[in-house]
Symmetry: C2
Subunit: 356 residues, 2 copies
């Protein structure tokens, strides 16, 4: 049976002050009241029943996730006691799934992006599930046709075509510099590495057994205890001992039978406030009003964000990022949005955990 | 006996979004938790007992005033059903006071200013009460020695000295242009017109009888009913019919026996956010942090205001005014702070009464 696993970890410091230690960016209601997690769920819910959709996240985020996705059975919410990077998150989900359904085919999804249009995403996803079903040993990655020479993503170079929109993978690349990224886009045979995959649970576990045997061993121990009273004890004892490593480094860049399915969608990383200008239409003065109540008097090119009905009103300011949260407000220039991590570190230093 | 009347009307739109229709600027807790009204009260409380201190304000502000000054007996809080300018506010207070104490000597005070140092203020005030006690027919105005050619104040030209720091008044002037204000300051015989006065209640009522007979008549009718069950009916029937006019226009500029007592204090109008730089010391980067939690990273010359412990954090922004309130945030350039009235009108137009 087809399953989906949405990975929703990561605090998302660059989206402070809305994202917080106890409230990851995926549950923020940024776009007309819909969170990124909700978007991710609904994109998949068109193909799968709620029973088949899982979320894996930090244990402390489970209540927020459950509130955001009340459709999901509690048993489909997998909590990690601490983050051990994507190889272990993927492995834990695969081990639990295989325990419950030995023939499970699974998709791995992130909740950091806005993807449009949804029907093309679902087409590509359906295709990728089909490939994983037919090719028992394949690891399938979803590759996004690049719309710009983005230097913040890794790229995948495709090889021979196996079917329409299905290729072998020749190489995963690191994040390139601009010159190289421009070459990649011009060449036409590179995709953005989306971090979304499909495979059989048994297949990815075999690969982990091969390339990351200690994790495989630990995750298997946790999985047999998962649907028993020993889960928590086992999880808290074993999981923190696993080595932090990404699924790309641990498996994808080393495995043999890796395929890529082309996804021709707009794919926007909501990793920083400046990403909002790709997501929300600006008004006539170039202000991006991602808040329910804003008023700009002679102000241009600002990004205004609030989750609730708090009013943000400006006069004569240009090119700022202004974000309201219940207990903190950020005002910075667009070009300084990259310094938010540093700001948050300073906030922690000065005020402790109160505002972080 | 000496009494004091603090006038605390006026919404103070230029201090939006902290000042609101139902919450005038005088009760805002802007400086270390003390409101302007509290400051005004405590300046006077060094000279008079709480029983002798009155506040006159709009009826809708009475609960906020009572909360801010719990020391005052309820009978000392005088509510106007609507604003009829200072001639009628002063006249109403005088009529009620004379009703209660025919020999009342009263001081009139505003709550819009920070005045320092307090002991010099009290010296001048004590002197002004003494003059009003000795000179039964005198209207005494407190004149502030100008520290700059401020074009936002009216000026008082003094005449012959009657005693140390006590002079006759030759003329009240309109707000001058800068050239004229500079002349006034250089001349040395001009004071800022503070809007603070002392006189006998009977004396100011005589003057109102002479120059504003309809108000005198109406206020007398209200006063006789004040400490009876008819107060509210009488007040609501008569007060709105009175002509709106200031005590300066109606009486001070026309009366004969007007004196000025010199007050040598720092006297800062807290009428706009930019006034805060005269009141709160800036940090090393020139940021005025009038909020309990602020953090500025590479930002200079900003004014940050919040009443509560909401954090305001900035990166790389200069010369802004940033004000947080529970349901609205203002971000504007310093030079645009004068457009706040226009902004508030636009807010009302777009969102109704919700944020004003």
């Amino acid at each position: 049976m087809r399953h989906a696993v949405i990975m929703a970890g990561g605090a998302g410091t660059r989206l402070w002050p809305l994202s917080r230690v106890a409230r990851p960016k995926q549950v923020l209601r940024l776009f007309g009241g819909e969170s990124l997690l909700r978007h991710a769920y609904e994109r998949i819910a068109g193909l799968l029943e709620p029973d088949a959709i899982y979320v894996i996240t930090g244990s402390r985020y489970l209540p927020a996730v459950a509130e955001e996705l009340p459709e999901l059975p509690e048993r489909n919410l997998l909590g990690e006691p601490q983050g051990r990077d994507t190889a272990n998150a993927v492995g834990l989900a695969a081990a639990v799934l295989r325990q419950r359904d030995p023939d499970a085919v699974m998709g791995i999804f992130t909740a950091d992006h806005i993807i449009m249009p949804i029907d093309r995403f679902r087409d590509a996803l359906d295709l990728a599930y089909g490939v994983a079903e037919r090719e028992a040993n394949a690891l399938v990655t979803l590759g996004v046709r690049p719309s710009s020479p983005h230097t913040g993503y890794g790229y995948v170079r495709r090889g021979a075509a196996l079917a329409e929109r299905v290729y072998g993978v020749e190489e995963f690349t690191e994040k390139p510099d601009l010159a190289r990224a421009t070459e990649y886009v011009a060449a036409g045979n590179y995709y953005w590495n989306s971090g979304m995959f499909t495979w059989r649970a048994a297949t990815i576990l075999d690969q982990l057994h091969k390339y990351l045997p200690k994790s495989y061993e630990g995750l298997s121990q946790i999985a047999v205890a998962w649907d028993t009273p020993q889960r928590q004890e086992r999880l808290e004892r074993v999981y923190p001992t696993l080595i932090k490593i990404s699924i790309d480094f641990a498996v994808m860049e080393r495995a043999e039978h890796v395929l890529v399915v082309e996804m021709d969608c707009q794919w926007v990383d909501v990793g920083s406030w400046t990403a909002f200008e790709s997501l929300v239409s600006a008004d006539a003065d170039g202000n991006v009003n991602a808040a329910s109540a804003t008023l700009n008097l002679g102000s241009r090119g600002n990004i205004l964000v609030s989750e609730d009905d708090h009013l943000i009103a400006t006069i004569g300011v240009d090119d700022l990022v202004i974000v309201h949260s219940a207990d903190a407000t950020l005002i910075c220039t667009r070009r300084d949005a990259q310094s938010i991590k540093e700001l948050v570190a300073r906030v922690r230093q000065q005020f402790g955990e109160k505002y972080v």
